[in-house]
Symmetry: C2
Subunit: 129 residues, 2 copies
Amino acid sequence: MNLGELEKLVLQYLWECESGDVKQVHSHFKSTRTSSINTIQSTLERLYKKKLLSRVKTGHAYTYQPIVDKQDLIAKLIKSVTRDFEPDENGLVAAFSSLSKEFNATQLDKLESMIEKQRQNLNQGEIND
Amino acid sequence: MNLGELEKLVLQYLWECESGDVKQVHSHFKSTRTSSINTIQSTLERLYKKKLLSRVKTGHAYTYQPIVDKQDLIAKLIKSVTRDFEPDENGLVAAFSSLSKEFNATQLDKLESMIEKQRQNLNQGEIND
DNA sequence: AATAACACCGATCAATAATCGGTTTTTGTG
DNA sequence: CACAAAAACCGATTATTGATCGGTGTTATT
């Protein structure tokens, strides 16, 4: 999936605010972008069609809300760019070897504790099978 | 940076073959795609402009060669999609938390050994400073 | 000099994001 | 209920970028 510049910005905003209607989104960007309210409208619709936003009518205006959270979307995009070149299921692990060169000690600690947490998840799953 | 479908395929091929000229690339894709040799030509030029390929004249034909290897390109793309949403330097680490949910025990082992290797790199650097 | 192989330029097409005007629908108010 | 405001919806336009190729110029080889 490919996201345009405005689409990314709108997503960012909705992650911060939890939800919002066209008017809110439009007025948020009034200071930084010249996009008309119709432009915001169609951007929201595009994100809705891409299944990144849900919407409910409140009164006669839609309130839009992100379906996926930021981390999940990033994860999805990372998997997508990786799979383009390494369809293999270990592709992501392999890609990590290049990536790891840029982590400092603190970041490595964090990564390691995430790994440990995931190990526990796996073990937990085994017990309950 | 955004890569088209044919651009990705051509890159893949050149990673396998180390290098190749237009004719070679074209004949490689003859069976799977209908792209004319001119289409291959301009795809190679686009990749060259994107600084993903280098080229040297051998006779009067260019020989193209990847500048970045596959893992490095994947790493670059991963950093790029991450930075779009998490400009912070810890963004990648944060993104990893969603990603980690899908790794099995073997993969976790591999990741951990990469982390260990990177720790040693960091220590080595310190000593030589 | 002729020819073949190739690069290079320019044009077109396709897909998609960004843009907005105009119309219809909904709703709240006098 | 009629009307005005607010919002959705539809359709058209523009911009960007990748894919495509024809035609022309350039170079090397015989």
